[in-house]
Symmetry: D2
Subunit: 399 residues, 4 copies
Amino acid sequence: MTERVVLAYSGGLDTSVAIGWIAEETGAEVVAVAIDCGQGGEDLDVIRKRALDCGAVEAVVADARDEFANEYCVPALQANALYMDRYPLVSALSRPLIVKHLADAARYHNATMVAHGCTGKGNDQVRFEAGLAALFPELKVLAPVRDSGMTRDKAIAFAAEKGLPIDVTKKSPYSIDQNLFGRAVETGFLEDIWNGPIEDVYDYTQNPAEERPADELVISFTAGVPTAIDGKELTPLQIIEELNRRAGAQGIGRIDMVEDRLVGIKSREIYEAPGAIALIAAHQELENVTVERELARFKRGVDQRWGELVYDGLWFSPLKKALEGFIVEANQAVTGDIRMVLHGGRAVVTGRRSEASLYDYELATYDTGDTYDQSLARGFIDIWSMPAKIASLRDHKLS
Amino acid sequence: MTERVVLAYSGGLDTSVAIGWIAEETGAEVVAVAIDCGQGGEDLDVIRKRALDCGAVEAVVADARDEFANEYCVPALQANALYMDRYPLVSALSRPLIVKHLADAARYHNATMVAHGCTGKGNDQVRFEAGLAALFPELKVLAPVRDSGMTRDKAIAFAAEKGLPIDVTKKSPYSIDQNLFGRAVETGFLEDIWNGPIEDVYDYTQNPAEERPADELVISFTAGVPTAIDGKELTPLQIIEELNRRAGAQGIGRIDMVEDRLVGIKSREIYEAPGAIALIAAHQELENVTVERELARFKRGVDQRWGELVYDGLWFSPLKKALEGFIVEANQAVTGDIRMVLHGGRAVVTGRRSEASLYDYELATYDTGDTYDQSLARGFIDIWSMPAKIASLRDHKLS
Amino acid sequence: MTERVVLAYSGGLDTSVAIGWIAEETGAEVVAVAIDCGQGGEDLDVIRKRALDCGAVEAVVADARDEFANEYCVPALQANALYMDRYPLVSALSRPLIVKHLADAARYHNATMVAHGCTGKGNDQVRFEAGLAALFPELKVLAPVRDSGMTRDKAIAFAAEKGLPIDVTKKSPYSIDQNLFGRAVETGFLEDIWNGPIEDVYDYTQNPAEERPADELVISFTAGVPTAIDGKELTPLQIIEELNRRAGAQGIGRIDMVEDRLVGIKSREIYEAPGAIALIAAHQELENVTVERELARFKRGVDQRWGELVYDGLWFSPLKKALEGFIVEANQAVTGDIRMVLHGGRAVVTGRRSEASLYDYELATYDTGDTYDQSLARGFIDIWSMPAKIASLRDHKLS
Amino acid sequence: MTERVVLAYSGGLDTSVAIGWIAEETGAEVVAVAIDCGQGGEDLDVIRKRALDCGAVEAVVADARDEFANEYCVPALQANALYMDRYPLVSALSRPLIVKHLADAARYHNATMVAHGCTGKGNDQVRFEAGLAALFPELKVLAPVRDSGMTRDKAIAFAAEKGLPIDVTKKSPYSIDQNLFGRAVETGFLEDIWNGPIEDVYDYTQNPAEERPADELVISFTAGVPTAIDGKELTPLQIIEELNRRAGAQGIGRIDMVEDRLVGIKSREIYEAPGAIALIAAHQELENVTVERELARFKRGVDQRWGELVYDGLWFSPLKKALEGFIVEANQAVTGDIRMVLHGGRAVVTGRRSEASLYDYELATYDTGDTYDQSLARGFIDIWSMPAKIASLRDHKLS
């Protein structure tokens, strides 16, 4: 029986060419798998048809937007996941989702190989291959762009030679990856890190500097999961989409940074993640209201490690599962409403209310009604500062 | 000989009354100590004279703005210090500086006691007393507002009775603490955490929503210390002042948060820190360019602990000193220029350049000139993902 | 109706006197609560009768040894809990158990107060009061030894005056706390930290230096819970008891250390915990075999924080619950057998076997059968060392 | 001019053969570099002569024992470095020392290549190559055993064919690496992790179970550096040697563990490190006496990361340097004497004394002379437990 390869298929030039390229190289049949994780663009049916036209024996397409929102974006939100304190892990979240669908398709179609179109210097190759190693280690991985010299020029020549139904004339100057949770852009002139981005690189967000009226909304959470906007119950997918629209219209969520890749180098990245950034800001402030101090302090380190691990391609790893044991428990009481003003590139929390609030007006107020017993302070301070005081006495004695 | 008390003196109602109140309560002479850490307001000589008029036997005033900038704000910047990821420690930084001057004055004036005007439910009492415990543990601490019932009403009555030269009629609705690094505001209506702040609470910052032209500048750092703006060499004090002015004019650095106090409660705080927020954003991005990945990852935890420790009043503690052993070393290569646009409440980095850059164009580029050896990737990925893969195989076998 | 006080009752002099002392001081009725957490000594009925004879209106006794083993010692084992890398939290584990029974008894008997016999400079007062604050914050806490001058001399006089049925003549030179998980000893001559302990301070352990034959056993775990010794299924309580006996006979588990108390001072402590130390050694090595590397590395920090939190009296805190979310997940695969030799004060693992093992003979061996692909190494090493290499090149260039 | 290769030379079969093997393979001249880091065995001159006899154009030998003790073992001690809480990093410490000498020799002899005899599945290849990447990245690395098929059988045949002066008949069943700080043993029958080690695998330590008199000594430290035994000033090298002898004679420092290698697998390792284990135990207890609580708690995480980094081959990395900024500062007050009994496989601290002690008898004692103010406790406890208490009230309200 002819061997089969499952290919992560996007519909674009590289992976369309890869169908035939891999078939020639391996003699295997290619099953194309295209996943909608909210990247927009062409209809799944169009993509499906193109895969078949390019020579795939099967083309699997799946609308995984709800799955992506519920099982990938929501955990990231509960971890306030910002790699290097900035980047909401857009591509790093979608890769394990795609891997899961590839592994499922490989099982269904009895494939022995799997292929992706990544280069050899990015993070995504690691996310694909580390994910596959965890979910279906027996699969052999093909990476034609990285391992068998399928450069862009060769791909264009191949497409012309085979008469593939792909328009190779539209050449974007940008290398783009986008999904429900955000959009990443790389391009030549930004590889000079002294150059600033131009308006043209952005698509999910309007120019924050343009004048427009502010937008105010209330986001509701239950146990750290977003459940409603302005009192209207919505799914996580709907909430992220609405916030992408509304926060994007206000220019929120643009990120320009130099980033530490897993593969050893620093790179310059432009991201747009209007919904993600607004949601994380709201979730963090609701945590401030509902999460106890020592838990909140420790959670920062757990959240950081979660983000690094996912960035580093280790979504399907024992540590991630254990970190989520912590994070889910820590989100149990993160329930309530956050009022937020979206305006001029800023998502600003202006109000919070929660049945699970740990803010106690009567303890906090300086007005009538104060119930805080100030006579406790002296004993607390003396014991609190005692270790450092004894150390200080020691140091003075010795110096 | 009559005993002496050193009093942390601000020139305001409470500490002016405290001079006489403490004298009556203890029979001791009061030495007032007023420190300029950039809080603005009255001239030091005016404050000095008022202290004497209110009955102080001595009034020490000191312009400690450069000391505050160099020895307190710069270390905070090198630690990117943001308590709960938001608050740049404004008051928490000035208290140890004041403590140091109080301890020096107490030694000089042979005082046996020290007094402050803090209440019993805030953090500042801890910062004063923990600092004094470290620097001069033999001093007895007096806290008339907290411990001997010196309420505002009683203070006003005392001032009237003694004819103190204080205007008790201007009653601000706000409780304010401010210095070079920022400004903190608390007030009754904001104790309802669902209420948003009004424009009236702000002083260091203009309304970010107002239209105005953007402001672009280049900040230079040497080993993590800011040294110039737009190529003009300046002291840290001058840089923070200029950024307060320019970033403040753009509405940058407003913070509205629910915060975990050390004394066990959550409180609602409004801060303005235009210069601090702009500087930290610049410093962080220069770290992204110049600090190696594993160092950067570990430094986040060190920075967080530094911020907690300082917030918690433990400036003069062995752990802070050791953390700074790490932080100073980590800043050795944080040298270079950051170009930043200040506009509409946002301080956005648009360019970075550095002789100490670890960003390597030739490794990072996808254009001609790429020197990255992509054939290394496969070996890396296979070994990188091996532990999780083996665990995954185990889990599948067992389930 | 007369108010009621629930008293943590040990049967000893202090708490026996406290029954009458508290009754006199408050006019309340005293309900004595004695909990067996494996401390040995007198029969619960004897203790119960003594409480009543000393004036308690009710005396509640409970054999909580299984509860203690299952819900307090097992979580400690799963966290490899060793405060300061040494102390297995003996007393810190029993206090929350006692607190839980006190709170239950207070509800049942409609008490409004709760009393304990701790002094004001130890950790146990914090563990009692912090636990009660979490479980039953409305209770007023009485601490006669700390707060109302009930010194040992006064207690003896009180006992004599009231004719209480307590033998006040046996005066041990040692202050001892013991339970199923270990035994703590303090005494005057050891407060000089240059003095070594003498054989007389020990009770759970024989002298490790004495000659005796070694003892070998196999401990089995399921998901981090000890389930059998030498193939015989036992409860955690039975396993800890058997190991206390067998490891104690070999002199295992003696600890002599200077320790950081929560209340600000360092103290000198002697502990014996033969079963705990042997079990933790076995559990750690089974983790080495069954827990993936990155999970194992992060777990060390989680374990440390769990131990600090419990030592610090915060058993009933949100952070502990979230840490256990991590720890329980991390223990899911900690299943298998550990062979151990107990001898001469040492508990030494000599073998491990597990269906959940991640040790793969074929990958690890240097003999025939090696399946490890050594050609992967070069790519891995080059990318692994790239960030430090680039930093090194930068440093050489600049210096 | 003929190219030159610098070879890490041990004097054994593999690296002796490698001299000729590399010369044949590359046409280059081989400079052999042998470093004495306390591994014992043959005289350096014998090794030097053998290298030349085997065809090296130059043979560099260096007694680096003091350098190894001072610059590699002492920092490890200050970090209490125990990988996975057990392994004192024996081989991981010597590799960077050897790398430094290789890089120096390569510069001196104008080499363009460097060679080592490591296999492709161990950690040492990473330590060599990552170290060289940092110190001399231009060198090309040769690893004949890993990369060009130089198996043991082929090496023996090569030696016979070329008549190399090496005895190939003594075949040890053990794979051994040893130096001043300890000894590592791997062998076939121990690759079954259920098998226990036999007495024959050990060389640095006597059987701990044999009866012999105890040995008591006092180790003195200054700022975390060991400086004397029993009052006699010695160098770190002398101290480690004496402790290897005396602790080794008591069977101290045997380790048997399953370990997480950097290269993705778990392996079974036997170590002996009598001096290291005794010194770390002493240093830790002196830290308990002289290091303030919060510093000690944070230092555990820093120490762990230092150990992982060194184990992982990143000795010459920016993070290690910054961690040492912390560690050296934290050791400033670690000065004093530790009395220790070495006996029956145990190194037990029995006394500590220090001018820098933070243990305060008067605060700690329960006897006359107690200066601890117990009235402080209540205020401390109430504020300490307040956050968890408020969270508990919230949870009860909601459930």
